[in-house]
Symmetry: C2
Subunit: 216 residues, 2 copies
């Protein structure tokens, strides 16, 4: 397997080189960028739909929506009012990489854009290894996934700046312990900024929106 590790190292260093270029580009253009990562079905797309609608008059946003197959998420974001939305279909690959983002950005008109969301492939493992040139990784988890996720997938939480806990409306329908999940996450990364919200009921979204506004 040593050969595999060597190749992976090479790929990651090429990725880091491209990511550094993306970071410079976005900084030059004064675009704040968030890389949203999560398990499949935690609610990244729904959170972005709500955000697009709520902030459309206040922030100029662009989105890159990654999926293994289908452009369904990108289409949902366009229907929600997204004007600058680019789908990336990885065709089987388990994560987005800097090369894909680089190519996507080349196709987008970024004039005046203040905030770029990158919606990664739903996968709590592999996307943690790939720097996309973003300012921050935002891990979205949902209460129905269980409070043990930070301990079982520590790399993602270690490399994220933010943890969004979605589906708080379903608290009480499972054994999810809010205090425990926060404790588990902060044990891995004491600097995590944490949001609790429900995209379904809207509770907590205002705090998320206000934070986004403070970034730009």
């Amino acid at each position: 397997m040593t050969q595999k590790i060597e190749i992976e190292k090479k790929i990651l260093s090429e990725n880091d080189r491209l990511a550094a270029g993306i970071r410079r580009l976005l900084k030059d253009k004064k675009i704040v960028s968030l890389n949203l990562v999560s398990s499949p079905g935690s609610g990244k797309t729904t959170l972005l739909e709500k955000t697009l609608v709520a902030l459309k008059n206040e922030i100029k946003m662009a989105l890159i929506a990654g999926d293994v197959q289908t452009e369904n998420d990108a289409n949902r974001l366009i229907r929600a009012g997204g004007k600058i939305v680019l789908p990336i279909v990885t065709g089987g690959a388990c994560h987005l990489d800097a090369k894909m983002i680089n190519e996507a950005l080349g196709k987008m008109n970024l004039d005046g854009v203040q905030l770029l969301f990158i919606e990664n492939v739903g996968n709590l493992v592999c996307p943690s290894s790939y720097d996309l040139g973003e300012d921050m990784k935002v891990t979205v988890i949902s209460t129905t996934e269980g409070d043990d996720k930070p301990l079982k997938y520590p790399a993602m939480f270690r490399r994220s700046s933010v943890m969004v806990i979605n589906k708080t409306d379903l608290l009480g329908y499972s054994d999810f312990d809010m205090a425990l999940v926060k404790n588990n996450a902060l044990q891995i990364n004491g600097n995590l900024k944490i949001f609790e919200l429900s995209c379904r009921t809207g509770i907590g979204l205002e705090v998320w929106y206000n934070w986004l506004k403070s970034l730009v």
Copy 2:
């Protein structure tokens, strides 16, 4: 990236060679094996806990519990009465492979075992590419993940024999459409055997248990 693809091909063919050996071993020992795959938090471990308790007097079961970090799932399965339970901590790797299973089986006493469960890493992408020598892959999804998962992660559903839809007690708290998810899954793999159940309320578990009994 061609070099990466070549290396991946080599690794997969080595994996297939080992998987074929495992398949022969398990066939010789008359052990039926199921490889459980899913997103993080869909309820694989809970389903196995319930199964261990329900069938302990009827079927001799062994379990291999894979996780990126922690042996928490393996410990849960032992507490649920699992007598032959082996944890695999991948230490960052996003899937189990045949080499890990081969080594695990070498450490287990398989005498009289009728049914082997392999609980894969929670990841709806990468584990689909690795044959572990199992008789069947069982994809577990939960109603809270959304009904679009088969379309977005088709490889897993294509390579599975069974789809378990868990958390049916939470139907009605989301927009999950049971008919649609089945249709989406069967469109990708018309041979999928489908179970609907709730590990929380117990509804549907009897049908799952009866099917397991029919296998051994």
